[in-house]
Amino acid sequence: MMFFGQIISGLIIGSIYSLLGLGFTMIFACTKRINFAHGDLMALGGFIGLVFIQMFPSFLFLSFIFGPLSIGIIAVIIERVFLRRLQEVQPLKIVIATIGLSVAMKSIMQIIWGPDPIAYPNIVSEKPFFLLGVGITPQNLLIFLISISLMIVLQCFFLYTKTGCALRALSQDRYAARLMGIKMGQSISIIYFISGVLGGIAGMLIAPIFFVSSSMGTFLGLKSFVAAVIGGLGSIPGTIMGGLFLGVVENLSSGFISSNYKSGISLLFLVLVLLFSPKGLLSIFRSKYFLKKVKSKNEN
């Protein structure tokens, strides 16, 4: 019984990781670069959402639109000012630049809102319902459902819209994509905007659980990045699976081994995954699936 309980609470934490990991994956899928400031964009999303909620307390819905949108705009500004010149050079330089930005953003948040966590108003009711002895709050369920539905929406966006198609072309071969008339700068801005919006949504959803603090971005951002890598950076279903998987593994290990090494275990797991299957766990399934598809085509 305890085992199932651990798994369910792991899935709850995991859905948070996967919601955040989507932002990393989006940028990686299109530009092959990693935006390390994503965790801090998420924290900033929590704070800005709080500002909007306090401004329009009667229109919660509005703040849920304007908060993420403003984070999207901030992400685009960051990309234009700092990262645009680095798109063409070594991928690691962007990582270093975004780490610098993340440190800077964290301290800006600390200066404006103070170092202590701030309580967040609950959007849905706080009363938990019980499943296999684990209390699940509606907030957790909301996060789970939203991250799954966002995954579906994003997948559809990438597969069926013209812009999504352009972005996919860009990720495959940016020079060929440019020859086909895809505007690279504009597309990268779009992708940063989307990932910023995702970060803003994540920040506003996660804030009632963890409270908003300037340091929450680092901790959660790193974990969700690990989740995205474990699942397969650049693939949206992979990220969701990786997040859920990491949440479960972390909870089980802290339940059965020791909670002191909780974050160490996830990083150890990352190293193992990178060593044995660098494209993520999902790539194992995918390669088999892919082989089957090719076979059936050949038979036809």
Binding site: V95, K106, Q110
Partner: protein
């Protein structure tokens, strides 16, 4: 041996700099000692980031490893500190080698994550293995280094101890960079496949550069432990790794004077921005981002550009 054009100026300048050790103000001496320790540390990272092209986000882990090994050996096992410092830096080199082992299979951001993870793991070990490392309280009363019965326990004596070490290791570093091995590292950075095709053993050389980098960083950590006489896990966080990365990038990746210049600038900023409190991190972060996106060559690059400009003008004037 071919004599460098800087050889004779340096031969005079370097002993002359020993005068710094007679500054009456102990506080300045403290800063200078810190600068020297961080110079060693950033040289270690520079070998990886600037020369081999491997970015590490976990050099604080190596620093911590060196510091803890020497602290444990000299307090628990009463090893003479001078021996334990050497032992610690050697062990850190081996730890660097082991942490660098994934380099055979992965590269880029994934490798950076491995270093980050290993640093975090070392810190968690330091916090949780209380019987050995003293847990979150850390280790205090680390003995001072003694050479031939002479105790290096003041800032001034530490300066005279550290200065020759820094000079010697910097020269060793320059020799490593200029050697066949060092030049092969730069070839690996520029194009790994091309380097492999002309017969450079890429994985082996990368691993060896991890070893040397670990050695320098571990030595810096071990010296820091005997300098501060107290270490605790919260010194060796992620922000220390970022600080060193700042030094390397602000000074200039892939240059030896750059690492030292970066260490000087960052330590001075660290001290003089103390009253700013939280704004300090804002300054670092923005400096890091601006430097890497607008001046990727670092301060040394800017200086070179300026001197190149003057040289060109003189050339034009002469003609």
């Amino acid at each position: 041996m071919k004599i460098n054009k800087y050889f004779f100026p340096l031969l005079i300048l370097l002993p002359a700099l020993l005068i710094i050790g007679f500054i009456p103000n102990i506080y300045y001496l403290h800063l200078i000692n810190l600068i020297m320790i961080y110079s060693l540390f950033s040289l270690g990272l520079n070998l990886l980031t600037g020369y081999t092209g491997i970015t590490s986000f976990g050099h604080a882990g190596f620093f911590a490893f060196g510091a803890y090994v020497t602290a444990i050996l000299s307090t628990r096992y009463i090893m003479p500190p001078i021996l334990s410092v050497f032992f610690a830096s050697f062990l850190t080199g081996i730890a660097g080698f082991i942490i660098g082992l994934p380099v055979i299979k992965i590269s880029g951001i994934y490798l950076a994550m491995v270093t980050l993870g290993s640093a975090e793991f070392i810190r968690l070990l330091a916090i949780n293995w209380e019987s050995l490392t003293g847990g979150p309280l850390g280790i205090s009363n680390i003995p001072a280094i003694s050479i031939l019965g002479f105790y290096i326990n003041s800032e001034r004596s530490f300066f005279f101890f550290l200065y020759p070490i820094l000079i010697i290791l910097t020269f060793v570093f320059i020799r490593i960079i200029g050697s066949r091995f060092g030049r092969s590292l730069e070839a690996i950075k520029d194009d790994e496949r091309a380097a492999e095709s002309i017969g450079i053993p890429c994985a082996k050389n990368k691993l060896f550069s991890f070893f040397i980098s670990g050695f320098y960083s571990g030595l810096a950590g071990a010296l820091y432990a005997h300098f501060d006489r107290f270490i605790a896990p919260d010194t060796f966080t992620f922000s220390l790794s970022i600080l060193v990365l700042c030094m390397v990038i602000i000074g200039g990746m892939g240059t030896v004077p750059g690492s030292i210049l970066g260490a000087i600038i960052i330590v001075i900023l660290l001290e003089y921005l103390q009253p700013l409190g939280d704004y300090r991190l804002l300054v670092y972060g923005l400096l890091l981002a601006i430097m890497i996106s607008y001046y990727p060559q670092g301060l040394i690059g800017i200086l070179r550009e300026i001197s190149g400009y003057f040289k060109k003008n003189r050339f034009q004037r002469n003609n």
